[in-house]
Structures are given as structure tokens and as C-alpha cells.
Amino acid sequence: MAKKQTVHVKINGQQREAEVEPRLLLVHFIRETLALTGTHVGCDTSNCGACTILLNGKTVKSCTMFAVQADGADLLTVEGLFQDGKLHPLQEGFKQEHGLQCGFCTPGMLMSTYALLQRNAQPTENDIRWGISGNLCRCTGYQNIVKAVQYAAGKMAQGGAR
């Protein structure tokens, strides 16, 4: 076993550090070491996107990185979307537009669409479909996820922006 290394991250605004094996995947670091189980594992080939998080503002599939590679990074997971006592407009949108069923893909979907709205505040349906094309959902058929993102974009344009 390789020597353990210390990883420091800022996650959802909090500084955390832990000693980990160099081979520990970032998703396991988040789920097991930091006990933030909102980020899910749905495959072993980086296809499904259930483990999507934001790393320094950009989406990554956290199963494709080692925790040690995230040393010093600023991470955002689904648990960090609820701020100042309020749901993020995307969270609201997913509920209002029935954008989820079993909920397993939802955290990854939320993080991908969060990043999408950061770079494109008024996405078209096509933009949204491509924006979530790295995230698989087996329940919804995606249509209501598209509507959920449109709901959030509308809400954020009205000044609910974050």
C-alpha cells in the first residue's frame, strides 16, 4: 500500500482535510471520507454522470479523478446548493416540473445544469439536452428535466440569480 497523503479541499464552502491512499477516487473521498452521500455512483466507466460535481467551477465526473488530484481545489456538491435557507432555483425547478423520479441521477443532473446555467443563462432546449448529455437518467425521459432547467433559468433571470 502506497503511503497515505493529506488532501485539503474546500467543499461547499467548508475546509476539510483527510489522510487518504493515493488511489482513492474522488467520489469515494466525498462519499466515504467526507460522508457526503448525495453524490452517487451509477457506473464504472464514467458514462452515467451520477457522480458529477463542480471542481473549481467546472463539472467533473468525480469517479474519474483521484482525491489527491483535487488537493487544494474548491468543490461544490449537491449538498452545497441549498444556501441562505433557500433551495437553488434548479432544485425548485426539478420539483415543480417533475424532473426526477427515483432521484438517483438527480444530484449529477443538478450539478451539470448548474454549470450549464453559469455559462449560458438562457439555454435553448437543444442547449439543455446537450448540456446534460453526459448524465444518464433511466426514469424521466429527460423532457421534464429540460423543463426544470427552463424554470430555473426563468427564475434566475427574474433576479433570483446565484
Binding site: T37, G38, C102, G103
Partner: protein, 783 residues
């Protein structure tokens, strides 16, 4: 008619937002892999690289030396406890861990337990297994060839043939064919695929040595049935087993069977006295757990010159893989496949199915369908199109001519089913209107002149969902009723527990709406809890679209029992006779004096504080509902495709889905179910395939190779509805979750074939990949 309650009460017909969503959108769901118990350790499976091989030896010494490894269990170890094999859900048995030989690639060979999952995986690599390869049987059509190896040495019958099943009148059917003016046939494969819910299967088994109680957190669609099976097979007293299905990340039939990994985790926990977690990887999920379909089907129709159908003859070969692990009611080796006469008024019909073993993963389960009805609906809707095309009759008109008519219900099919209700032409007409059918046909004609390929596919399916009735349906002997228990608290709020288990269907919301409808307690005041066998009443679980037809019905019946008792209490409070009282949503009032009333909340309080003499305290009821029949939802789906002649790519331009599931509890949730099922239908028609090469190596064993549609491939769905209530269900509802998956594959395939029919194309097997279409176009000299 269902009286619509106010929005505040939120009874049936209100699209109220889902109660379960709040935790899921905040990352606070509790799935099996989120369960973390003190001192928990991890299991990892060693699997066979070969499809068929003699197991010469297993050497676990090196693996055991690895620091952190706690135990390694082999088939020989399990054999000592008589657990090397376990029964399947269909009169067969399956190896938990291999002894003697392996029968499919990725079969379970040994189970490694270690302090953490990385060490467990390392140790699995160090387990040395010596195999001697044996000849492999992949093609089900060769299963009974004398030259093929006999796979199952454990069986008395030295044959790869599992069962022959037939239903209908063979002689009358053959006779009808002899005298028929017109005949048409199709050979169609409903290909092997996998439900692949986004959460894989897994468990945490926690045996407490002090209390002798085993708690199993399980990805289970049927927690009660699983508890009973754990008890019977494992010899653990049933009161000492508690199965908890927490949040489930999709099931679609994949989470109905019991898998070897569950058994190994339980054995490991019993052995070590600590909680053992086992979560399969996606590749393990696709390669070893319940596959679906793999039906190789031939259908023939006899008809007259006007296209009026007379008889149907169906012959099918079912590939079950290494063990018959079908999840079917025990009287039905091919499930509800004999629903293959579909929406049409056939005379004599005959259906036969033969099941065989091959060196493939065991199954097959009902993938988002009522026990093999997807195969049946696909076949009939395909062959009907073939016949219509042969007779040059428009496929919509052809269906219209042959539908079972509304006045024929209840309708007994020649293969033994009694449909409760239907209005097939109503759904067809609505779908034709929504899609603008005649305009599309004109457009198609124009396009053909220009050499462009456009197709319109229709599917007018009938589903049969909601098993029981108990006299006909059981799983492993346990009758297929289902249950609900409602407890109304003193302050008028309530908790309900059911024998079913949501995997995303929204039960926490819809069952609460049924209570709201029946008792007038606002849905927001009703908590629904499922999945804990220590607290919920017994039930058979959620699959085959049975939750609303069974537990939904039980909820209404339990609520009505509560209302009966509430009436007695109201009479006491209002100092009148029960006969003088009338019910209006949420209250009893004195006939002719509506101001003299008691609300359900006041009555609930009295049930604990001011009980009439002679009446038991409290306000609760339980109901075990045995439906008198299945419910028969139906619909018409119409798909419009454009095909790229250069690449063979099929683009779904439009898809109209008109569903009739009777009275609707929550329209938003029903529409969501339709969207999801259509997307899985799309996936089956165009993408999903678990294939095997000649050596039995699984192709499609990971998400790199097993294609799942993303948002980009998925079209925009257009939905509509008609309403034909079930005459026997307490509130006229029918199941719906699976209709779109059952009805849609034929619509997609019919559309593609329709686009190519003028070239002489009669059928293309699923999944219809661009490569397949491109090859057809090349053969026909189009590109």
C-alpha cells in the same frame, strides 16, 4: 365519476408536487450504498472469465495473506451449509457460488470480505482459480441439437430443454389457417436486454449475534417476499429477519430476484458478526443480474380478403441462460405472453413457447412490463402491420376493422384472458388527430417521389397489469394480493404503510392522494411509508404495474373501513342515528341539516378522547386486497421517423402517445411515467442489446457497450389520454407505469419498416442501429 376534492385536500386528479422530492433534490436520499453502519466491512465477488468451464481448483491462500482481508467464501464452503445452490423464482435452482463448473461468463465463484472495498477488490484479484474450458452453447436454436453440450449436469433430465408451454386450440387454429384466404407471418426477435436502473443492486447484511436478528438493507422491489425466501432458504426464523428497502434508484424488474451477492453478504455477516456491504458494479449488474426478453418469436395471422383477422398462431423459443431465473407467476412459464392476441378480435388462436438453457447469464425478468407482455404486444403489433401492408390497407384502418369493440367488454380472448374494459378506437382516433395522420401520409407520398425516407408507425396495444387475482397469480407460492394499513392520529393526520415499494414511481404522493380522496384528510397530512418489513403489512411488492391496482385499491378499502367507524363516532358526537348521516369529503353531516357536521379531524380526536360505549378506541384499518381481475390499460402510439439514406440513421421526428389508464390519481406523475417508459422503449428499439460472441463472451457488459439514450437521442414526447375506468377497481384506476414500454417498441419499428416498405422491407430486428439500416439500404440499392 370521481368527485374532485379541493386543491387543499389534494385528492385524485390533482397534479400535486411529489413529497419525496425534497430529500432527493438536496442529496439527502438514503439509498442502500448510503447506509453506513459501525464496524461495517465490504464484500467483493470473484467471477468467471469463461462461459463454460470445469472448476479445477480455487486457491485462496495468497488472498488471505493480504492485510485487511477477513474472509473468503467459496462454493465448497457454502455447500457445507447446503447453500451452494438457491431456488430461483421459477422451479429451478441457481448456483450461489460455483461448484463443479461455471455456466456463464461473470458467474459468481468466490466472495471476498475485507475491511474496505479497495482491499476486497485487491484480494479478489489474488484468488487463483484454475478452469478447464468446455464447449460453449450460445445459440438457443442449437440447444437441443445432439451435438450441443448438456449444460446442467445437476438436473435429472439430461437436456437443455426447460419447458414446453402451450395455450389455445391448436386443431381449430390449424383448421382456420388451412381455409384462410390470406396469411401473413413475421419472425421477430425481442432481443436480450437489461433494465439497467441507474442504481445497481446491492445490500448491507447486518446480523446481530446478541439479538440473533438479521437486518438486510436491500435493493428490493419485493421486500416482504424476500424476507420469506431468506427465511425458508436460509433457515432463519422469519421474525428474526428484517428487510429494509430504503430509497431505490430505479428497478424496472431488475430488483425482483434474489442474487448470489445478497446471499453471500448474509452468510458473511452471519459468519463474522459484523455488517457486510456488497454493492455490485455496473458491469457486474449488466453481466450477471436479471436480463430480460431473449424471445425468438414467429407469428402467423390468418385473415379474409377484407383484412378481417381470423386466427393467430405463435411459436416462440425462450433463451433463459444458465438457470431459469424468470420472475413469473408460477402458473405461467412464459408469463403473460399469451396476451399476444392484443387489441384484436381473433377467432381460434394458439400459442406455444419452449424454454432452453444456454451459457449466458440467468433470467429473464419482466423488464418494465407485466411478465412478458412486452414481447407479446411487440409481436402482435408487428405482424398486424405486416398483414396490413401485404393487403395494401392503411395500418390505422386495418386496426380499426379488427379492434375488439366497446360493447364486447368484458371480452374473453381465445387464449383465456378476460379484458375488463376498453375503447380502442377512441384512443386510436385521438392519436391520429393529434399527430395529423392524413397530412403526414400525404407528406410521405411527396417525399417518396423525391426519394426521401419517412415512415409512420402505429401501435395500438393492450396491457394487462395489477396481478393478482390470487387464484391465478402467485410468486413462489405466495399469492399476489397486496396491502395497506392506515392509522389516523388524534390530531387528524395519518400514516399509511403498504406492501408495495416505490422505486421512483412517487408512491409517497399518490397513496396519500388516495387517502385524501377517501377520507378528506389533506394529502399533505398523510405520511406514506414502505419497504420496512418490521412495520409494513405483508405484500408482494412493486412490479408489473401492480401498485395502484392492488395496494392502491387496498388503501381505498382500508380508508372506507375507517370511514365506517368514523360514522359511528360521528353519530355519537352528533347524537343521531348513523342512518341520519351523509358523507361529504372530509365530514359527516346530518341529512337536511348540513350545519350539523363533524369533520374527520374532529372524529379522529374523539376516537382517542371521547369513544362511544362499546366501540374500540383508535382509528385505523388494514386491508389485504385481492383484485377480482387484472386491469387492462391500453393506448395508441404513433411514431414519425426520417431516415438518412447516407448513414442509415433514424431520426424520431415526432411521437404521439395516447394512453388510457382509467381514472388518474396524479396526472403529472402519470405523464412522467409515460415519458420514462417511452424512453426505455426507444432504447430497446434502437440501442439496448446484451449480445454474446461464439465463446460466450458478453458484449454489452458495461455502459461503454450497452447503449442507453441520453437527452440528445431522446425525442420530445407528445402525450394525450382517454379515460375508460376499470369496472372492478375501487376507484376505477388501472396500472400505467409499464404501458409506454410495452406499447412503444412496435411503434418505433413499424415506423422504420413503414419508411422502407416500398422497397420490399417487411421486418428489421431490434435494436435498429444505423448499421443495420445502412445494410438494408445497401441491399436495396438505395445508397
Amino acid at each position: 365519476m370521481i368527485t374532485k376534492t379541493s386543491a387543499e385536500i389534494g385528492g385524485m386528479g390533482h397534479s400535486i408536487k411529489r413529497k419525496e422530492d425534497s430529500r432527493f433534490i438536496q442529496g439527502k436520499g438514503n439509498y442502500v450504498d448510503d447506509v453506513h453502519l459501525p464496524a461495517m466491512v465490504y464484500g467483493h465477488m470473484v467471477r468467471s472469465p469463461y462461459a463454460h468451464a470445469r472448476l479445477k481448483s480455487i486457491n485462496t491462500e495468497k488472498a488471505k495473506q493480504l492485510p485487511g482481508v477477513l474472509a473468503i467464501i467459496t462454493g465448497e464452503d457454502l455447500a457445507k451449509a447446503n447453500l451452494a445452490w438457491m431456488p430461483t423464482l421459477f422451479f429451478d435452482k441457481q448456483m450461489v457460488l460455483a461448484t463443479g463448473k461455471v455456466l456463464f461468463q461473470s458467474q459468481e465463484v468466490a466472495f471476498v470480505v475485507a475491511h474496505d472495498q479497495y482491499t476486497a477488490a485487491d484480494a479478489a484479484e489474488l484468488v487463483e482459480v484454475e478452469y478447464e474450458e468446455l464447449p460453449v452453447l450460445v445459440d438457443p436454436h442449437k440447444a437441443t441439437d445432439p451435438s450441443s453440450p448438456i449444460l446442467r449436469e445437476d438436473r435429472e433430465e439430461k437436456s437443455n430443454h426447460i419447458f414446453h408451454w402451450e395455450v389455445g386450440d391448436k386443431a381449430a387454429t390449424d383448421k382456420a389457417f388451412q381455409s384462410a384466404a390470406v396469411k401473413a407471418s413475421v419472425h421477430a426477435i425481442s432481443q436480450r436486454c437489461h433494465p439497467a436502473p441507474l442504481e445497481t443492486c446491492g445490500c448491507v447484511a447486518d446480523f446481530n449475534r446478541a439479538t440473533e436478528k438479521l437486518t438486510v438493507y436491500l435493493t428490493s422491489q419485493a421486500p416482504h417476499a424476500h424476507r420469506t425466501l431468506f427465511s425458508i432458504v436460509g433457515g432463519i426464523p422469519e421474525q428474526n429477519i428484517r428487510v429494509i428497502s430504503p430509497d431505490i434508484g430505479g428497478g424496472f424488474g431488475n430488483k425482483v430476484p434474489i442474487y448470489p451477492g445478497y446471499v453471500c453478504a448474509v452468510v458473511a455477516s452471519l459468519t463474522l458478526g459484523v455488517p457486510v456491504k456488497w454493492i455490485e458494479t455496473r458491469s457486474e449488474n449488466l453481466q450477471s443480474t436479471g436480463f430480460a426478453r431473449d424471445y425468438h418469436m414467429t407469428a402467423e395471422i390468418a385473415a379474409d380478403q377484407n383484412g378481417k383477422v381470423k386466427a393467430l398462431r405463435v411459436k416462440t423459443l425462450a433463451d433463459h441462460g444458465a438457470f431459469n431465473a424468470a420472475a413469473q407467476p408460477t402458473k405461467f412459464p412464459a408469463g403473460l405472453f399469451s396476451m399476444c392476441t392484443g387489441s384484436y378480435d381473433f377467432g381460434a388462436s394458439f400459442c406455444e413457447v419452449d424454454g432452453v438453457y444456454t451459457n449466458k447469464a440467468p433470467g429473464g425478468i419482466a423488464y418494465r412490463c407485466s411478465f412478458r407482455i412486452t414481447e407479446a404486444a411487440y409481436l402482435i403489433e408487428r405482424v398486424v402491420d405486416v398483414l396490413a401492408n401485404q393487403l395494401k390497407i392503411d395500418p390505422a384502418e386495418f386496426r380499426r376493422r379488427n379492434f375488439i369493440q366497446p360493447d364486447q367488454f368484458p371480452y374473453k380472448t381465445p387464449l383465456g384472458w378476460t379484458y375488463d374494459s376498453g375503447n380502442y378506437e377512441g384512443a386510436l382516433n385521438k392519436a391520429l388527430e393529434m399527430v395529423g395522420y392524413s397530412q403526414l401520409r400525404k407528406e410521405q407520398e411527396e417525399k417518396r417521389k423525391k426519394g426521401e425516407l419517412m415512415g409512420i408507425g402505429i401501435s395500438s396495444f393492450t396491457e394487462a397489469v395489477g396481478a393478482g387475482p390470487a387464484h391465478t397469480f402467485d410468486i413462489a407460492g405466495i399469492k399476489m394480493f397486496d396491502s395497506a394499513e392506515i392509522r389516523v392520529h388524534p390530531t387528524g393526520k395519518a400514516i399509511c404503510r403498504m406492501g408495495t415499494k416505490s422505486q421512483g414511481q412517487g408512491h409517497e404522493t399518490t397513496y396519500a392522494q388516495i387517502v385524501a380522496q377517501e377520507l378528506g384528510i389533506p394529502a399533505s397530512d398523510v405520511v406514506v411509508e414502505e419497504g420496512d418489513t418490521d412495520t409494513a403489512p405483508y405484500g408482494l411488492g412493486t412490479y408489473a404495474s401492480r401498485s395502484t391496482p392492488t395496494s392502491g385499491a387496498a388503501t381505498a378499502m382500508a380508508a372506507r373501513k375507517i370511514r365506517d367507524k368514523a360514522k359511528k363516532i360521528a353519530a355519537h358526537l352528533l347524537e343521531c342515528s348513523e342512518d341520519d348521516l351523509e358523507w361529504e369529503t372530509g365530514k359527516f353531516f346530518v341529512k337536511g341539516a348540513p350545519s350539523k357536521s363533524k369533520s374527520i379531524q374532529e372524529i379522529a380526536f374523539a376516537a382517542y378522547t371521547n369513544i362511544p360505549a362499546g366501540l374500540e378506541a383508535g382509528l385505523e384499518a388494514v386491508n389485504y386486497y385481492d383484485p377480482p381481475n387484472l386491469t387492462f390499460p391500453f393506448g395508441t402510439y404513433i411514431c414519425v421517423v426520417d431516415i438518412d439514406k447516407g448513414t442509415g440513421e433514424v431520426k424520431v421526428r415526432r411521437f404521439v402517445a395516447v394512453d388510457d389508464c382509467g381514472n388518474v390519481i396524479n396526472p403529472m406523475i402519470v405523464e412522467g411515467q409515460i415519458h420514462g417508459g417511452l424512453t426505455e422503449g426507444l432504447a430497446i428499439a434502437f440501442m439496448q442489446l446484451i449480445d454474446y460472441d461464439e465463446n460466450g463472451n458478453v458484449q454489452g457488459g458495461s455502459f461503454m457497450d450497452y447503449l442507453i439514450p441520453t437527452a440528445v437521442e431522446t425525442p420530445h414526447w407528445e402525450t394525450g389520454s382517454t379515460c375508460t375506468p376499470s369496472p372492478h377497481h375501487p376507484f376505477g384506476a388501472k396500472g400505467v407505469g409499464e404501458s409506454p414500454n410495452v406499447g412503444s417498441p412496435a411503434a418505433f419499428v413499424n415506423a422504420v419498416v413503414d419508411a422502407l416498405s416500398h422497397l420490399g422491407v417487411k421486418h428489421i430486428d431490434m435494436p435498429i442501429t444505423p448499421w443495420k439500416v445502412w445494410k438494408v439500404l445497401k441491399e436495396k440499392g438505395v445508397n
